[in-house]
Amino acid sequence: MASRFIYLDHAATTPVDPRVVEAMLPYFEEKFGNPSSIHRAGGEARAAVEKARQTVAELLGAKPSEIIFTSCGTESDNLALRGVAFALKGRGNHIITTPIEHHAIGHTCEQLAKEFGMEITYLPVDSFGLVDPDDVARAITERTVLISIMYANNEVGTIEPIAEIGKIAREKGILFHTDAVQAGGHLPLNVDKLHVDLLSLSGHKFYAPKGVGILYVREGTPLLPIQTGGGQERHLRAGTENVPYIVGLAKALQLAYEEMESEVARLRSLRDRLIQGVLERIPDAQLTGHPTQRLPNNASFVFKGIDGEAILMQLDLAGVAASTGSACSSGESTPSHVLLAMGIDPLLARSSLRLTLGRRNTSEDVEFVLAILPQIVEKLRAISPAYT
């Protein structure tokens, strides 16, 4: 086994930043109170949670009361969709979304349709994975209660025109949610500039731990809680608050904002070198997603005639951690729903590889991948009956 370890799967998850770990540590053994307790140990925990909420609110340009802490991006997405669908079931039953959403949206829409009578419109996307805002406008009906369109795609990195769509939604008076999980730490998240009513984030995509998320809920947005119990999170998300992770999440988001400008520039240049190198050195390689309107850290490809998982395994053996697309569907053998929606042939879609850069990556990492990937692809193609 290689002792080298080059992690190029930051879209799947990121390591927790040491500064975030440090911020969390006091809240395990020492300041361990339950924020709902009214004694001082509780008050201390409550103060930490509310300070974190304040920090997050400022970064998003929101009010503290509009920030709901959840247990992950998936929960945020579920709360947005189910919460609005159930709250407005008297008014309508139609949701507009896209076929390239994360399963946290896609499978939730499917269940809402199958079990709860919702009707879902999946807007088309072009070959880059882009949604046309005009299609959004056209899809709205009298029974539409929610539009949910992701900010940036987790597989191919394409960035959607959220602000434009948000304006349309606002004009038509339809609630608008965006799954901004992949945008967190990479793109500006001002909720007013984006014209969103609901926005999901997940800590572990920007160097906070797995298991904590945010749902921004604009004041006045009708939302039926989907996890009921104690009155936490303004009765919208019951359950004793995960104080350490909430503190860590706020710290991580703050760090991401402080470092965003320089880090995005650095990642973008590594990404461009990676893309350019791959396309130059590997025949029949094709970039997936938009060439420029894409996440600064995402380089994703298809390599005709071979299997993405086989490439990934070879990279892994060489000490490089990559993905075929999304982590959740790793191990699934069906081709990516995202690539299919973009019009990519199913066989070609099976050859996908996603490399997503992060804070610890250097240009040496990129050069190493560029040195080994061509051979890996060549070798696999040599044994493939599907490459001709």
Binding site: A310, M313, S333, R350, I383, P385, A386
Partner: protein, 129 residues
């Protein structure tokens, strides 16, 4: 996720290639995932004297075909005709459940190649094939 045997065969697949004048040829495609495998055999005196294959698929698919090729090379054809996907999986030291279909694919490719051979040499076909 994968056993060391899978990794080893995936890293160094044995007997890769094509046999231009094969005695038997089989090609199969998995309906589960689109995996594709083609397998060539050369038979002399009732024995598999050479085998080659090409595989489009994941590590498990490649390792399955590689180990299957080793398991049949030099073996009497009646023995080879009995090679099951379970035996391939076993020889690989097991496969994740989601990857069992890869060993099935390898067994099917072999079966298709044998079928091709027996159709040309019906006298050699074992009774229960």
């Amino acid at each position: 996720m994968y056993s060391n045997i899978v990794i080893e065969h995936f890293t160094n697949p044995r007997n890769v290639g094509v046999i231009e004048d094969a005695d038997g040829y089989g090609k199969v495609e998995s309906s589960v995932c689109g995996d594709m495998m083609e397998l060539y055999i050369k038979v002399r005196d009732g024995k598999i004297v050479d085998v080659k294959y090409r595989t489009f698929g994941c590590a498990a698919a490649i390792a399955s075909s590689s180990i299957a090729s080793e398991m049949i090379k030099g073996q009497p054809i009646e023995v080879v005709a009995e090679l099951s996907d379970e035996k391939i999986t076993e020889a690989l030291g097991g496969l994740p459940e989601a990857k069992i279909h890869c060993s099935i694919l390898a067994a099917s490719a072999l079966r298709a190649a044998l079928e091709d051979y027996f159709s040309k040499h019906p006298e050699e076909r074992p009774e229960d094939f």
